[in-house]
């Protein structure tokens, strides 16, 4: 025959205490939730019913403090008590009355167990509002045993839960702490929740959701909301943006962070489900680009996952996210129309977020692009400023490349834009779609020399031999020479390397130190697949040394000089040297010394 496992309830509760309920105070949430669900069910019987929940603390002398939680919800009869309170995982909130399970907050049927984390015994007195059955008392103990008896006398429909504090939980049975917790979890609930401790009794959630209240004017509303944000989220915020979505039945506020938002940070919004706090770390309710806000939102009809940190990805969530995103976008667009200084303050902190948004949304691109700042070779400038000075906007797509050429470009008076950060290259490339008179050009740093002044035919003749030697010398170093005129004249040769060429340099550098196995693997990686990515050495015709070198007849000496110039240009470009390049440098210097100092027998 079949047998049933015996479950050690105490062990399960320890597990719950340590894992499922990561913080013991969630028993307050579970009790509130049960009360709210009971009232929701009662409202289905009697839509005019006035719901109410109370928490009463008592501290009898010499005994542990007790807590009584009372709701005037639908209650249970004896059969329901047996069924729902004796089976772990069973929930009374199944679709028995034709209502959908989503109407209720608690869906997992283990809420009451969380009370055992703080109390060794739970006593529950309940009277059903559905029928005339007598009130029932259920007494459950943490060892897994329970007793049920029916009660005589008058009882109003509803449920009362009695808890006696376990020694370890004393801190949670204090009036101030309990008030905080009730406000934390149930502050938005639409009926009164009172907390009584000693002689003091107060309705904790009198204020309700601050974004639903009427205000005298916009300014008062914003100030009030910012105060609320500061209180529940901590920190100060730049702005408070109202949120509303019909799809998810959502309403709330998005608080604009006062510090620059971090693209890699976890999104964590404070979300209420049917006015009960669900999570402080909900991560998928707002669009990805909205990383500059922290939201406080209530949703009526989205489905949370069991972890409570996300909602199920379904069409309704997608629609909700769109609508909430629309609220943010509209607010910013209105700001652009009405309050430029405030927008400027906003952009100062959150231009990265707005870049993300502009990339996704054409209307926002059009609205904001002119005000967005970019790093350029002439300092930080907005697109509007750049457009005004440049007919063709030239940009680089790599941060390293930009820094490599920015200084030289600046000394040439050339404006280059750094498009190396996320979104930026895309935004720059799309400028011509929005401005008829703007052309854009992506600059390859190895081709930067192309923008330098070219030589006349006569000048080319003068330098021809030098260029030929340079080509031969630099070929094994995967570098191509060119001669142009540029400023400052003191620079004899300018080294530049694109991303691929720099990668090849780092590969060679690693190969030199690696063991034979890895040297071989890196060699294979370098294979012909990748093609040859050349760096470039631009010799400066304005530099007197280069002109003198062009006149030296001794090819050997020219070679040595070019090798040293090459290594010097690497140092100038702040490139770490490979062993081979260090070798070139020392050989070159020795050769030059030998060349300059006559040998002993030749000495006069």
């Amino acid at each position: 025959m079949d047998h049933h496992f015996q479950i050690n309830l105490r062990g399960i509760i320890e597990l719950l205490a340590n894992h499922l309920y990561s913080r013991p105070e969630v028993f307050v949430r579970e009790l509130l939730q049960n009360g709210v669900d009971a009232i929701t069910a009662r409202l289905k019987l009697d839509p005019a019913h006035q719901g109410e929940i109370s928490f009463e603390l008592a501290a009898p002398r010499g005994k542990p403090p007790t807590l009584v939680v009372t709701d005037n919800g639908v209650g249970m009869n004896e059969a329901e008590v047996h069924r729902f309170l004796a089976t772990i995982g069973e929930s009374s909130k199944r679709a028995a009355d034709g209502s959908k399970i989503e109407d209720y907050l608690g869906q997992f049927g283990i809420g009451l167990l969380s009370c055992f984390v703080v109390s060794d015994e739970i006593v529950l007195v309940t009277k059903s509002a559905r029928d005339d059955s007598p009130a029932v008392e259920w007494r459950g103990r943490a060892d897994g045993s329970y007793g049920v008896r029916t009660l005589t006398g008058e009882h109003a429909p509803g449920t009362q839960v009695y808890l006696a504090c376990r020694e370890a939980s004393r801190e949670l049975f204090r009036g101030d702490r309990l008030r905080e917790l009730v406000l934390h979890y149930g502050g938005l609930l639409p009926y009164p929740i009172s907390v009584t401790s000693g002689r003091s009794s107060q309705v904790v959630n009198r204020d309700g959701a601050p974004w639903r209240k009427a205000y005298r004017n916009e300014r008062e509303r914003t100030e009030e909301l910012l105060r609320f944000g500061n209180q529940v989220l901590g920190g100060t915020f730049l702005d408070a943006i109202p949120l509303r979505s019909a799809a998810g039945g959502a309403d709330g506020v998005a608080f604009v962070l006062s510090h620059s938002a971090n693209l890699a940070a976890k999104r964590a919004h404070r979300v209420y489900l049917k006015n009960m706090l669900l999570s402080e770390e909900a991560d998928n309710l707002l669009p990805d680009w909205a990383f500059f806000v922290k939201a406080v939102v209530n949703v009526e009809n989205l489905r949370p996952t069991a972890s409570r940190e996300s909602f199920y990805e379904d069409d309704r969530l997608a629609a909700t996210r769109d609508e909430l995103g629309h609220c943010l976008r509209q607010h910013l667009i209105e700001l652009a129309e009405r309050d430029r200084p405030r927008l400027a303050r906003f952009l100062d902190v959150h231009h990265l977020a707005i870049k993300a948004l502009a990339q996704e949304d054409d209307e926002c691109y059009r609205t904001f692009i002119d005000w967005l700042p970019f790093e350029t070779s002439q300092g930080r400038k907005t697109i509007e400023e750049i457009r005004r000075s440049e007919a063709t906007i030239r940009f680089l797509t790599d941060v390293g490349e930009f820094h490599q050429v920015a200084k030289v470009a600046a000394s040439q008076g050339t404006l280059l834009v750094n498009g190396g950060y996320v979104y930026e290259a895309d935004l720059l490339a799309r400028l011509p779609e929005f401005f008829d008179d703007v052309r854009v050009e992506q600059v390859d740093p190895a081709a930067l020399a192309q923008s330098f002044e070219e030589l006349s035919l006569a000048e080319q003749d003068r330098i021809e031999n030098l260029l030929a030697v340079a080509t031969r010398v630099l070929r094994p170093l995967k570098c191509v020479p060119e001669v142009r005129k540029f400023q400052p004249a003191e620079i004899a040769a300018l080294f530049s390397a694109g991303q691929e060429a720099r990668f090849q340099r780092s590969l060679e550098q690693a190969q030199e130190t690696a063991d034979p196995l890895f040297a071989g693997v890196l060699g294979a990686l370098q294979g012909k697949e990748r093609g040859v990515a050349s760096a470039q050495l631009c010799l400066n015709y304005n530099n007197p040394l280069i002109l003198r070198l062009a006149a030296v007849p001794d090819a050997g000496a020219v070679r040595r000089c070019l090798e040293v110039l090459y290594v010097q240009s690497l140092l100038l470009a702040q490139q770490p040297l490979t062993t081979r390049e260090l070798g070139l440098l020392s050989q070159g210097i020795l050769g030059l010394v030998e060349w300059a100092v006559p040998k002993a027998e030749e000495a006069p």
């Binding site: 950060y421 690696a514 196995l517 071989g520 693997v521």
Partner: protein, 365 residues
Amino acid sequence: MSDELSRIAELRRESWSLPACATKVSLLEEAVRIADLHGDLDQGYSLRQDLMEAATFSGRDDVLLVAFAWCLAQFDREPDRFDRWHLFWKYKWVVGNAPNFPTISRAQIESLLDDMQRRFQQAGFSLHCVHQKRRDVMCSLRDLAAANQSHELFIRARRDALSDCAACVECNTGEYFELLEDWEAAWSSYAKIAEGTLRCHVEPLRSTSHALLPLLRLNQREKAIELQKKVARLLSKSEDPTRRAAEHVTFLAVIGETARAKRIFERYLPGVLASVAPLDRLHMYAAGVLLLDRLAAKGPAVKMQLPAALPPADEQGRREIAPLRAWLESEAEQIARQFDARNGNEGHLRELREVPSLFELGAAL
């Protein structure tokens, strides 16, 4: 000196604010360059640890290999100066990703595995992750016999601090079963993530994307559709979406959701073309062939936004399907042959040839 240190600190801080992406790789490469320039070994080493992570999770396996080779050489010189565990952990990435480059020979890959095994063993670690990596690498090389052997060793080995996380172990085991064409077993591994609670840095996107075709083969079309919808959004949030995009295009093409398949194909193809690993291209091109076959049923030309490397569009932006398909197919075939030549079998080419027959999966439903 302090200038150098403050610039490095600034670049590192900037990099921390970003998810793994090309910008992050660039910032860290720049910081590494500065450290090397000043001969700052400790900075150079620790920045490369960050660089390896950013590179691996944004699809720059070449950068990973180069940085790792450098670090390993420094570590061998002064083993007491650097942290062993962090370096060994990355050795798993190196070994796992080396097969993505067909120019790295099979002998070299096997030497890497042996070297990793020797080092881990000498340091007293369990071979759990080594056997797993060997199995997974053999799967990449399409050597099923060798993969089976390592799998048997893997399931007998004890987990330890170098073992992959539970989600990654399941996902890789799913891939192994998929290669054996044991769809039930593959799905049961993937399901622990796709329908379960196992999570990690790259999950649930990776396993759920893997699971789509096996689910079709198991006649679980509805579940596959639901799961695809569930993770589709994660694709755009992923740090390395190109590797998953091909799976979504293939799946959507098979079930006839051509509009969505086309959108994903258009969105991720440029990234795939720019990818350093030819394997990414192979999968995406194969998916593209499937998609074009579907689209061909509606007419001989299609409007598509594609990178310039592909056969061009006419003035209205329309493209002939036939030459486009031919281009994708021949590129894919060329890549498949490269891998097969390295692997010493015809696994990739055979898989490529079987791609058109995936339609039967859609038709059978």
